[in-house]
Symmetry: C2
Subunit: 376 residues, 2 copies
């Protein structure tokens, strides 16, 4: 059986292990610590530094394919792995666009994918002229490294922009602050020989830059808009040469969809697929990077809702299982084996059914109770 | 999070790991070899002998609950663990009835569960008188240790019985050879504080004493018979004090159901629940032995069929994934990471849908192709 090496030991690698167990594929994880979420449940989990090329090369030895649980491996190291003959999926040429937001915007603009107005900015006057042209506030983004609301600043004036830029040393870009109706996401998979599949479009509910809920499918989405969003995502996967999963986060606006962010790995917006689709995103990623035929993305219920469990102040979530499981024997609980820290994504819940409001209430209740936000 | 120790590193422990990962429960496995099916996918998998009390005591240290992947731990060792203060589920008093077929028949007869005629036999004349009373052929069974058709002999005459008994040194029992319509199985879970749940009754298709297919629910089963079978299984779980899963294999006969065998662990007849029920048998077993509220056993599709993949002559199944997955993107493939040996259970496939004949064809095709029985 093939050996798949995943760089990074977070919950995405942890959940990939569930899929690897079913397929009989051997998963190896490069962990940063033996206590990493995935390292706890993978027998072959060497500890190493994903920023160290020697560590990466040692890790890749004996792997049939190397893939990623996050975007933080330096692009030049991925190129070096490829030059050393390692099969890396997604490859460096594609992954660059999930690592560098400015490169992503350039490329998407080039291929005609719908994007908000944007530009690279190096001094406050760049932001001022961009804001004066496209309107205030302006969204400033770190070109590399940001996620879950980090590395993003919304600035309302030239002064605020200057204040951010005096503090931040990394390259920045400016984007128009999109007046969106809601945020949606499209998950596609593409294999090296070019097969592609697309999951139903979902709505992602965000609070303070962190995804709190995913509604699958996105409620009341116009079928033409859904088809358009799926076409955009599949097209990006093809044109960028993505292998494995591609999650495309989008803004739904009155004028159509705009691409927000790209991720080339299993994604929070796809956790609902574990129970809610015939093929989970984790199995799909394995199938794609192994160049196996892709699995059916068909949903298993009319409505699926995933709610993230964010860490609260109680050190253990486990005592709260009792009430959640007694309250709703059909809700699914996922816990990532991570230490609880306030606001940290430590697990998620999934509910499935025919009535959206009810399904959403169930997932929400379980997540809120586990997080300690509610007590009944 | 609690630590669950499972004695035995086979595929049942392996699939339990998938459920443990979701719940955040830490699974520890006592493997007989580092290459065991489960040892490959569990980071905490010490090697030891399940027949050695010191090994069992060392393994149990730090476990919140100890449970089993098979029935082969000596009953006296389980009692010794309990006396040492280890929480063992199922406990020795219940597990005895899954280990000792004669003790099981005595107890089931006592509580009024429907059984075929049976008796302990120690010499050929016992079999002769039993056969003359209940009819020939007679089924001889090893009281302990048999499974998958091993430890079972169908004898047509006093001479054949004498021949078996001259070869076999273990205690035997005789059972009437039941003229059954088909074989069915009922899977229930019971927690220490007494909650019970029951999965839909399934049909188990056997060839040469090995289960080849499970049809869930059992097609065209009279609802009254289904309810009766479920009542019998739940009643056995309660009266025997089972904690965790109980699989009750039954014969369906024109006069009603008869109990054939008991297993107190996840069971081959329940593999369909991984995708086919809201709570998989593996998650259910963990919830039951941890005394968590039990999960919903509701099916996720009108028809679910599981087909076992038996080892053929090809050393690797993996090259056959290509055709199976391309042929049917919705069929689920499970491979246990075991070396292929002819006739060995090395994996299973699951199909779900609305038309039984079609669902069964799909699961069957995938399993047969993976096994090398067919080539298109």
């Amino acid at each position: 059986m093939p050996v798949v090496g995943m760089v990074g030991g977070g919950q995405l690698a942890r959940m990939t292990q569930q899929a690897a167990i079913a397929l009989g594929v051997e998963l190896r994880v490069l962990a940063s610590d033996p206590g990493d979420s995935a390292a706890k449940v993978v027998s072959d989990a060497p500890v190493g530094d994903h920023r160290s090329l020697p560590d990466l090369l040692a890790f890749a030895k004996g792997c049939d394919v190397v893939t990623f649980d996050h975007e933080h491996v330096p692009t030049e190291h991925i190129r070096a792995l490829e030059e050393a003959g390692v099969a890396v999926h997604p490859g460096s040429a594609a992954l660059l666009y999930a690592q560098d937001k400015a490169a992503m915007r350039e490329r998407l603009t080039e291929i005609g994918a719908p994007c908000p107005p944007w530009r690279r900015v190096s001094e406050p006057s760049d932001v001022t002229s961009f804001g004066d042209e496209h309107g205030w506030p302006v969204v400033l983004k770190a070109v590399r490294g940001g996620y879950d609301g980090r590395g993003v600043w919304v600035v309302g004036s030239a002064e605020e922009a200057a204040a951010v830029m005096s503090e931040v040393t990394v390259p920045l870009m400016a984007e128009a602050c999109v007046r969106f109706t809601r945020e949606i996401a499209v998950l596609v998979a593409r294999s090296p020989h070019g097969q592609g599949v697309c999951y139903p479009v979902v709505e992602t509910v965000q609070e303070n830059g962190i995804c709190t809920e995913v509604l699958a499918p996105a409620p009341d989405l116009d079928p033409a808009d859904a088809a358009k969003a799926q076409r955009v995502a599949l097209d990006i996967a093809t044109r960028l040469g993505v292998t494995g999963l591609l999650a495309v986060e989008m803004f739904e606006t009155p004028d159509g969809v705009l691409v927000n962010e790209l991720a080339m790995r299993p994604h929070n917006s796809g956790h609902w697929t574990i129970e809610g689709a015939r093929t989970s995103q984790f199995e799909q990623h394995l199938r794609a990077i192994l160049d196996l035929p892709l699995g059916s993305p068909a949903p298993t219920a009319p409505h699926v809702v995933m709610a993230n469990v964010l860490g609260g102040t109680e050190p253990s979530v486990y005592p709260r299982y009792l009430h959640v499981m007694a309250h709703d024997p059909a809700v699914k609980v996922h816990f990532y084996g991570k230490d609880v820290r306030p606001g940290r994504k430590i697990g998620h819940t999934t509910a499935l059914g025919t009535r959206l409001a009810h399904v959403r209430d169930r997932a929400r209740h379980a997540a809120d109770y586990l997080a300690g936000v509610i007590d009944e």
